[in-house]
Symmetry: C2
Subunit: 152 residues, 2 copies
DNA sequence: CTTTGTGCAAATTCTTTGCACCAAA
DNA sequence: TTTGGTGCAAAGAATTTGCACAAAG
């Protein structure tokens, strides 16, 4: 179960890399400078960034960073369950450092991806015949902001 | 609400284009030969095909068909709510002609995309601050087939 | 005859791969 | 000193775009 589960690691503030380093350790991930940077970015930017956005954000501080490494790192983080891979946006993959139970809402007007709080996702909804590793609840529509502006 | 809703249109058999033509009419879609072919394919192949799969399936019968038209048609069908756009598979978009309430399970081993029956998706789970047009419930893991074969 | 739809080719964009170099255990 | 990680350049693959022609109202 790598997502839609209530696990509240890292709820406390952690703006320094030492904590991120420890976080990676919990998931058995060797803490290279690049991996710490990517994980740290995801823990402190709950914007559901794309690989490109992460790369663009980190590149200034790490001139030698490559997109390949960002992609490699994200793949590893997702495989180990430290990060959630969001596929709601057909245009590109987004990533979420918050692995606690919540859904997502994509505004088709402005493209913003919002978190949707969820108490619990009824186990009754789970398919019984297959072994579920992760679950995602996605919504699309028009967000409050865009609804107001467009007066509809 | 274009998906995850219980609307049982077209439950009866319809293997002829006349019905598909009527179906398109219901959604205000002009029934060109190509659109009928794509919609008809989706109504009778519940395999959640990709654009390419649809193209490959129809091309033999329609040598002049182009991928562009398949993409255009799918975009239109989805926009009008006649077809659901599935984004669970990060590699490519899949499409579903069954717009009744159900979730999806993707097997990470064999890549098969299964339907997951759902009674009702609790309205309580819906975000209240935004206007929801569609909802999707996605599961990933190992399917029954692959679980057996791999004895795990 | 005016609007709408189709299809080819080329372009775009996200992501992956091959391979050489670097770094850590 | 062997394994694992990074990064560059190139390739790959899904999708989009521009534009000309065809079809429908």
């Amino acid at each position: 179960m790598q997502s839609l589960q209530s696990c509240n690691h890292y709820k406390k503030k952690m703006n320094a890399t030492p904590d991120t380093r420890a976080y990676l350790n919990e998931y058995g991930i060797r803490p290279s400078v690049q991996r710490i940077a990517v994980m740290n970015y995801l823990l402190h930017h709950r914007t559901h960034p794309t690989a490109e956005e992460i790369y663009q954000a980190l590149a200034p501080e790490m001139p030698t960073l490559s997109r390949t490494t960002v992609y490699n790192t994200l793949e590893l983080l997702v495989a180990r369950g430290a990060v959630i891979h969001l596929t709601i946006d057909p245009r590109f993959s987004r990533y979420d450092g918050d692995i606690s139970l919540h859904g997502h809402f994509l505004c088709d007007h402005c493209g913003t991806l919002y978190d949707v709080p969820l108490k619990t996702l009824p186990e009754a909804l789970y398919p019984k015949e297959h072994r579920v590793n992760s679950a995602q609840l996605y919504y699309r529509g028009t967000c409050a902001h865009c609804s107001q502006e467009n007066k509809q």
